[in-house]
């Protein structure tokens, strides 16, 4: 399995509080992604990064921000959590452009916003 660690694995928080999810990789892959998984929607891309301090928005980026200060860490922040952000969040990594055209996923973070 690819070396991807997500923390925390579970989080319960209240509406309006800030929340940060962490993704740590030991593979030295250039690309990192944050997806959310919701029933009936599959996985939807929130943000992604193509290098240190290089990030871009995905299809559902409103209410989320990200940071990547080191190759191995990609942080997802909910500035003011809302109930609609209750979801399972997955981090993924890849070496896009090298011919290894696949994503490796972490085990996910279950976030509940009450």
């Amino acid at each position: 399995d690819a070396g991807i660690t997500q923390s925390p694995r579970h989080k319960v928080t209240e509406t309006g509080t800030p929340v940060t999810l962490r993704c740590h990789q030991t593979e030295n892959h250039r690309y990192m992604y944050w997806y959310r998984q919701d029933p009936g929607h599959g996985l939807r891309l929130i943000h992604y990064s193509y290098g240190v301090k290089d990030t871009d928005k995905g299809e559902v980026s409103d209410g989320y921000s990200v940071s990547r200060s080191k190759t191995e860490d990609f942080l997802l922040t909910l500035e003011s959590a809302t109930s609609s952000q209750t979801s399972v969040y997955f981090c993924a990594i890849s070496e896009a452009g090298t011919g290894v055209e696949k994503l490796f996923f972490g085990s996910g973070t279950q976030l509940s916003v009450l």
């Binding site: 992604y33 599959g42 055209e101 996923f105």
Partner: protein, 115 residues
């Protein structure tokens, strides 16, 4: 814009029977197509991919997928299902807007294999 559709929320099959999980796609240009599997409380695991070449792609755990350009389909198949194949399956297409590796996922299909 690229997209994939999985028309079945759930597929039920008896152990030992062949299984098919359907996927159709819409892309501009050549498609890069993938299948992933998710077991309960786990992240997604790569099964197989189609980039170019043979229309029949073989992957992990005895799965294969058939690329059909005229029908814009990429159905996942296995000749003989196992109870342990029960899981959530996702079809995906690579986003062609730049070489960023982003994948666009279908809604997912739950495969239930009964003994």
């Amino acid at each position: 814009a690229q997209s994939v559709a999985q028309p079945e929320d759930q597929v039920n099959v008896a152990e030992g029977n062949p299984l098919t999980v359907k996927c159709t796609y819409s892309v501009s240009g050549n498609p890069y197509l993938f299948w992933y599997v998710q077991y309960p409380n786990r992240g997604l695991q790569f099964l197989l991919k189609y980039i170019t070449g043979d229309n029949l792609v073989k992957g992990s755990y005895g799965f294969e997928a058939e690329f059909n350009k005229s029908q814009t389909s990429f159905h996942l198949k296995k000749p003989s299902a196992l109870v342990s194949d029960s899981a959530l399956y996702f079809c995906a297409v690579r986003d062609s807007s730049g070489n960023t590796g982003k994948l666009i996922f279908g809604q997912g299909t739950t495969l239930q294999v009964k003994p």
